[in-house]
């Protein structure tokens, strides 16, 4: 009797819980149906609009290709809501969409017969740098007009372990590989490793491509002490590691290069490698401002000992540098106002016949964004000459930059330079830069 009661109670419980479960399920199903209905309505509307648009397009081209189906099947025009991303046709995905980093990894073109191969094409962009100069400069004369550089970039992921970046710099007469390297992202120990030809991590300006400089030219100290416009740019291996600490961003970089860099380093034998080391410390001061410090060192063989094609002197050049950058950008008005203050100091020890020449150079610059499209700035320059410490060049520039859009930029720069050899140059420099292709990252 007792056990029978228990059985009845248990059965009752079971039925009860089953019925409440089914009620819950029904509610869930109803909810889902409602959701689907809403989605369907949205879709219907979207397809309706699209069909109308396509019909009018078809009407426009009718006669040109009678009986031909439209190039874009309407079913593929809009990605169905909450379905796997397989909808928009490959033909409509813009070139350059397949790249690293962005939301492009799962671009909805897989399985498409039209553009299946295109999806693996690298991001391609070209940046044109047109320069004009007026005025007089007998030491470093510049043409009135010059298509100074056309930089083509190709960037993509190689495989799960690496990505590759190529920057080809087309001058008016020749092509140069400005940078071309693979970045290995999967190495243990938090090592960020680059292999290839690259701009060395010596200070700030040396790492920057021409189009991200806040001026039309490079500072005197780069030209006099760090090997000219290209700076330290060589084939080698770079390893960078974050140094864990509770206070700030600290990154140490070590680089080994072949030892050939413009007019700075020259390798007479394969063992004449050059070395670059960089330590970077970064800290947010507030949400709107931050500061970035760097210490750099570089060493390699130079040209000074070469007599009749033989490196008799075996001389080296050693550089030390410090850099500091202060940035201010009020977040809620970040597209309208900002300020960048930057300085770099570089010491050079250049061995040559007759003894070592020790000199130094520096620049101090500031750029203020006065409105969404307008920047004003200035730069003060001072630099010794690497192979003649008695000579010191000084200069100053005033710069106005206007950005018609994110993809083009017009810049005017007035510059006065007093060269140590006794001449003074007054120049008005003009620059127009324009970019096409994939949207690159904004420089930091």
């Amino acid at each position: 009797m007792r056990s029978a009661c228990a059985w009845v109670a248990a059965a009752g419980l079971l039925v009860g819980s089953a019925s409440s479960a089914s009620a819950q399920e029904a509610a869930a199903v109803r909810q889902e149906i409602d959701q689907l209905r809403r989605d369907f309505e949205t879709l219907k509307q979207q397809y309706g609009d699209r069909l109308t648009a396509l019909e009018s397009k078809l009407a426009a081209v009718e006669g040109a290709a009678p009986g031909q189906p439209p190039a874009t099947p309407p079913a593929a025009a809009q990605p169905p809501v909450s379905q796997p991303p397989a909808a928009p046709p490959a033909a409509e995905v813009p070139s350059g969409a397949a790249g690293a980093g962005g939301p492009t990894g799962a671009l909805p073109v897989y399985g498409s017969t039209v553009g299946g191969a295109k999806v693996f094409n690298p991001d391609i962009a070209v940046i044109g740098d047109f320069l004009g100069a007026a005025g007089h400069n007998s030491v470093n004369p510049q043409p009135a007009f010059e298509m100074h550089e056309s930089e083509a970039s190709f960037q993509a992921v190689v495989d799960p372990y690496a990505r590759a970046d190529f920057f080809l710099s087309f001058g008016e007469t020749g092509v140069e590989l400005e940078e071309g390297y693979a970045t290995l992202t999967a190495l243990p120990g938090g090592l960020l490793t680059k292999v290839g030809k690259m701009r060395a991590a010596f200070g700030k300006v040396n790492t920057m491509h021409n189009h991200v400089l806040p001026w039309t030219d490079r500072p005197l100290v780069t030209l006099n002490l760090v090997g000219g416009e290209d700076g330290i740019d060589d084939a080698g291996i770079s390893v960078a590691r974050l140094i864990p600490n509770p206070w700030l961003f600290l990154e140490a970089t070590g680089q080994v290069y072949r030892g050939d860099s413009d007019e700075l380093f020259h390798a007479s034998t394969p063992s004449d490698l050059s070395y670059v080391g960089h330590l970077r410390a970064y800290q947010d001061i507030t949400e709107n401002s931050n500061i970035d410090f760097g210490f750099s060192a570089a060493r390699g063989h130079n040209f000074a000992g070469i007599v009749d094609g033989t490196d008799r002197g075996r001389f080296t050049t050693t550089l030390y540098g410090i850099d500091a950058t202060f940035k201010w950008k009020p977040l809620s008005r970040s597209i309208y106002h900002s300020f960048n203050g930057r300085t770099e100091w570089i010491w050079s020890r250049h061995e040559q016949f007759g003894g070592t020449q020790a000199t130094w150079g520096a620049y101090l610059s500031g750029d203020y964004q006065v409105a969404r499209r307008w920047y004003i700035g200035g730069r003060l320059d001072r630099s010794g000459v690497a192979n003649d410490a008695a000579l010191v060049d000084t200069g100053g520039s005033f710069v106005v930059t206007y950005w018609p859009s994110e993809f083009s930029q017009v810049r005017a720069q007035y510059q006065r330079t007093n060269y140590g050899i006794g001449s003074t140059a007054d120049q008005f420099l003009f620059q127009f830069q324009f970019a096409i292709g994939a949207h690159g990252a904004h420089p930091f």
Binding site: Q31, Q35, D39, T42, R50, A53, T72, A77, Q78, P79, V81, S82, P85, P88, E92, V93, P94, A97, G99, A100, G101, G102, P103, T104, G105, A106, L107, V157, R163, T183, T185, A186, G190, L192, L242, F249, E251, R280, Y282, D284, E287, N290, D292, K327, L331, S332, R333, S334, I335, R372, R373, S405, E406, F407, I436, H439, G440, A441, H442, F444
Partner: protein, 295 residues
């Protein structure tokens, strides 16, 4: 065993690109995750600086949730690349592009060029401004968290169900609030509100920007003023990070009200989560529409 137990108890570290994703992630992840956004709600999400301090955050992340559709193209790729964190590289388990499961509007068809301004070739990235997409974002985050922490699947799914129920109820309330004003014509600064407008029945008839990402020009502003007068448009919606000078001038000419309407959690100090975002925006709109008497 001990290690497994310890890792099951440690929180999943989630970094999101925007505060909206962080708010939704917080709803789903509860106390089993720690979650933080990089961009603030009152800054333009297209133009965030790729600060090294973000690299430190990304280095420790188990999961990165991005808005996608090229919203973050100017700043997120270099950060991911320098993060030295294999888990969050695109294509890895810890990288979630929340747009892939959302309903996206304004996907361009045919040829697009930058003559059209800074167009997003994969569609409008401001899709979180529709609560239906909010649910879809939540589901994707819950599924991703369940994948990363299978032991907590039931917890995440239960929180997802709870969030969805609450958001459904809130959405009904918002829809009811807006129902009397269906079809109200408005002008917005940037194309941040198409999903919001579609869900809540606003008719966006113009933009203060002549083209996406291009600042107002005198001619366009004049045309817009004439169009607003012709159609009797009394409301201009401006995202908090845009300058109010041009919208205010248009407002003076046309008698329209200029509303600073946050498109993101954190856009103003009252908007502290995803629910309050719609509460705030819809109250703001309803009050303004009532005041203007326009439709």
């Amino acid at each position: 065993m001990v290690a497994a137990a310890a890792s099951a108890q440690s929180k999943v570290t989630v970094i999101t690109s925007t505060e909206d994703l962080a708010s939704i992630g917080r709803e789903v992840g509860g106390d089993r995750i720690s979650i933080e956004a990089m961009a603030r709600g009152y800054q333009d999400p297209h133009f965030v600086e790729a600060k090294p301090s973000f690299i430190l955050k990304l280095q420790k992340a188990d999961l990165l949730v991005a808005v996608g559709r090229e919203l973050e193209i100017g700043w997120l790729p270099p950060l991911i690349q320098q993060s030295r964190n294999m888990k969050i590289q695109p294509g890895s388990q810890g990288y979630l592009d929340a747009s892939l499961g959302a309903a996206i509007l304004e996907i361009p068809t045919g040829t697009i060029t930058r003559a059209m301004g800074d167009v997003h070739p994969q569609g409008n990235p401001h899709y979180w401004m529709d609560p239906e997409n909010g649910k879809r974002i939540a589901k994707q985050i819950a599924d991703k968290l369940s994948e990363i922490r299978p032991a907590d699947r039931a917890y995440f799914q239960q929180r997802l169900a709870d969030f969805t129920t609450r958001l459904d109820a809130a959405e009904q309330r918002w829809l009811a609030q807006m129902a009397p004003y269906k079809g109200t014509k408005v002008v917005t600064y940037h194309r941040s509100f198409p999903n919001f407008a579609e869900r809540f029945g606003l008719d966006i008839v113009g933009y203060v920007e002549p083209k996406p990402g291009i600042p107002p020009t005198p001619q366009h502003t004049l045309d817009l003023i004439n169009e607003m007068k012709r159609q009797n448009i009394k409301i201009i919606l401006v995202e908090p990070y845009f300058d109010l000078k041009t919208p205010n001038a248009i407002g003076r000419e046309t008698g329209a009200q200029v509303l600073v309407m946050p498109p993101s959690v954190g856009g103003t100090k009252e908007v502290t989560d995803y629910f309050k975002l719609f509460d705030y925006d819809i109250n703001l709109l309803v009050e303004a529409i009532k005041k203007s008497g326009a439709k």
